[in-house]
Amino acid sequence: MMRALGRLLWKELWVGWPFALLGAALPPLTALLIRREVDILDIPPGNVTLFLVLLGLVAWAALQGAGTRDRCSYAGIHFPIHPARPALVTFVMQLLFALGIVGGYLLALYLLRDFGVLSGPLSTRVLNGEIRTMLQGDITRHFLITAFLAIGSTYALCFVVGQALSAPAGIVVGVFWVIFGIGEGLGPLSFGWVLHGYDLNMNERMPFLQVAMTAAALLAFGVLLTRLAFPVRRLLACLLLGAVAVGMPAYFWYEDSRAKWEYDVIYWGEVDSSDGALRLEIVPTGENIRDAVGLRLTDYRRDAQTTRPFPRPLAPTAVLDSGMVFLLSQPRGATTVTLLRWDTAADTVEEICAIPSEKGLMTSQRMRYYDPSVNPLMHVGPDGAHALLLLPTQVGDGEDLWHVDLVRKRARLVRPARWIISETVSWTDDAAILSDNGEPLRVDLRAGTAAPMPVARRER
């Protein structure tokens, strides 16, 4: 038996080495791109690499599955081994290959840190923080389990579908599984934490999904391996696994859309007014309250404090020197976000306007990059009559730029679906100018239009 196993392993090594070599070559190549992927593709760093690695795995597994179907009847008759054994060896070998590839990817990151390739904040964060910690701490265990589950489930799924139906079917199912099950659709949650550190926003049930998926995959694998030649069993295994592969992410999406979130996506410690005399902060309650949050405004000039509860989800957008606080809120299930004005002197809250947005925007990951102190959602004019509001667009990528007339309490879209990287807003009588990056953008507050503002080049 051991001899047969050894031969099978040797065969698998012989057949699988091109895949392993290709996989091992990809990480160092793409590591060069890791920080640049962010700028070019507008997607989290490292995703392309992992996507490609998983894609290779998907293709290989589906082809292996299809190949096993063609060979199984012959092998079962002519060789004194159970037909399950070759498939099992294939699975184990590919798992080892894939783990080696992911390990190589991390090693490439680690080794390239000293060559200036990964300069910038990403490298500082990733290399000096998460990866080092991971290599030294018990996060390694977590990483290995996560990688094992993700890779194992992907391989098993593609193998089974490839075996039961065909290689193209296995590839298609695998691609969708990578994208929707463990990929960009929910964020590459299996690997995202490796690149971004532990993410509190991570779907807590994702590990459960992976465990369930791997268990179902192994079960289907087992069913399949008992009698590879039986088409009905192959189909049964395929259906079982397909139901789990499609059903689990769909179920979690459904649950997430109904669930009450226990946190606000936008994190903030405190927000100051521009004169430094006012500070807005969350009232520490000692426990996490799901539906409400208490806000406290401290006025250092008057040495006074005002506190008020607000429903979640909530994001502060601006604190004016006059003591007005602007907040963005979105009732659950609403397709608008509501701009609120809290007059802390009178302790009254009024609704300014409702702005169309996608459902659940305030609890969406697309809002997490806004920070009221560093990268605010809203800029208010010095007279308090106008404001510019940035919201993630409903069409593709980028942000929508809204002009909010705070006096007439209405908002109008002035520029859709473009990234606006401007930290400075200048205000004139009839316009707001966004600048700091490239050509300034001038928003005509009367006409409600936005256009690039060329700067004349007459040298004195």
């Binding site: 293709a59 193209p168 409903q394 593709g396 990528d397 679906a417």
Partner: protein, 409 residues
């Protein structure tokens, strides 16, 4: 030709239909062509792009086994027609997918976006995604002339990665020579190599095909490298310009960066005149509410110098003040007095006041070195301070956290 197209449809309809469905599906969930003009989509567009690649890879892949290519060329049909029959389905799916995607996108667009959508913007958006899809399809098709199946996919992915790397280096290279022409050479070389192999190489052995593919790809790349070493390399070396407009909207700091050089100007926006700024500091400058700007010198010295600058009657005026080395300038670390005469800021171990007219500084509060050592080196211990009125400054004492007022006149 009709029969060739029928053959292609029979062999590749699964991938072509999946590609079309993926493009349409992306549009229906709002991730399709941009309805606002030419914009190359990213992220989700990887799904239809993947099917475009697989569709392309299936192109000649079926001819490379079982002696199909010699059989095909033994029929009375030219290689050009065969190639056309391989390209046309991809073009058709690209066109159909882009048009249907643009229509689906328009129909599912929320009402508040409608004023920004025109037939031209829709067409340009469809052109954006269509050009990406067609390029990916052609890369797949070119690779399919060399290797089939998984090996062809691996070749396509590696070439795709190489193109991205070259493209990134062309755009981001800070050296005098950027590999822009090399990138274009690589881009043009792929379909060229595919074209030549489609004519002469389909009946060769896989190893020979691969070697010729590599050689054909190298030719335009080498040409590109040679061009990059000539003055033509300056083709893409355009300087980038960043503009920082003052709070009143009357002035701007214009920062122009080219290869290994940087220059800044003070621009008066009303009349367009610009004056050179001697203090060129990358990135770290910001305006105060009175249209004067702050910047600092960043070097390895333990003590840094901050500058408050503005132009007055055609001459630059600057006030220097000491800063600690452990941190960068942030707008919230400075507070201008209501009358605009003084600037309050948190220094390394003290709360400082700068007289803007004279440039004199004085400490309003200071910590002992031993106490200072208990705070972070990367921020002033004086984190919160404000102007109580034009003659009084308030701050939170870093040690006691108590509100303290101090007169400044």
């Amino acid at each position: 030709m009709r029969y060739l197209l029928w053959k292609e449809w029979q062999e590749r309809r699964l991938w072509l239909l999946l590609w079309l469905l993926a493009m349409l599906g992306m549009a229906l969930v709002g991730k399709g062509p941009s309805p606002f003009g030419f914009d190359v989509p990213a992220g989700w567009a990887m799904i239809p792009a993947l099917f475009a690649l697989l569709s392309g890879l299936a192109g000649y892949g079926s001819e490379l086994v079982g002696g199909r290519a010699p059989f095909l060329f033994s029929r009375p049909v030219g290689w050009g027609r065969v190639l056309l029959a391989k390209v046309l389905p991809g073009v058709a799916v690209t066109l159909l997918g882009a048009i249907l995607g643009a229509v689906a996108q328009r129909l599912t667009l929320p009402a508040h976006y409608h004023p920004f959508v025109t037939p031209l913007s829709l067409t340009l958006g469809a052109l954006g995604i269509g050009s990406v899809m067609l390029a990916v399809y052609l890369i797949g098709l070119a690779c399919s002339t060399t290797l089939r199946g998984l090996a062809g996919a691996a070749l396509a992915l590696l070439l795709w990665l190489a193109l991205i790397i070259a493209g990134v280096l062309s755009l981001e290279s800070q050296s005098d020579v950027s590999p822009a022409w090399t990138f274009f050479g690589g881009l043009a070389g792929l379909p060229l190599a595919g074209l030549v192999l489609a004519r002469f190489g389909l009946t060769l052995a896989p190893g020979v095909r691969l070697a010729r593919f590599a050689l054909l790809l190298c030719a335009p790349i080498i040409l590109g490298v040679l061009l990059d070493l000539t003055p033509a390399n300056t083709l893409l070396n355009r300087p980038s310009t960043d503009v920082l407009v003052s709070p009143s909207g009357r002035h701007a700091i214009v920062r122009q960066q080219a290869k290994n050089s940087e220059q800044s100007w003070w621009v008066t926006l009303d009349d367009g005149t610009r004056l050179p700024l001697p203090l060129v500091i990358t990135g770290y400058q910001f305006w105060l509410p009175n249209d004067r700007y702050l910047t600092a010198e960043y070097d390895d010295a333990p003590q840094r110098t901050g500058f408050l600058c503005w132009y007055e009657k055609g001459r630059i005026v600057k006030r220097e003040f000491p800063l600690d080395a452990g941190r960068y300038l942030q707008a919230r670390d400075f507070q201008l007095s209501p009358d605009g005469r003084y600037l309050l800021y948190g220094a390394d171990a003290a709360l400082m006041l700068l007289n803007i007219a004279t440039g004199d500084t004085c400490a309003l509060a200071r910590l002992d070195a031993a106490i200072r050592a208990k705070f972070s080196r990367h921020a002033s211990p004086y984190r919160r301070f404000w102007w109580q009125d034009a003659a009084t400054v308030g701050y939170l004492d870093p040690v006691t956290e108590k509100r303290t007022l101090v007169a400044v006149r």
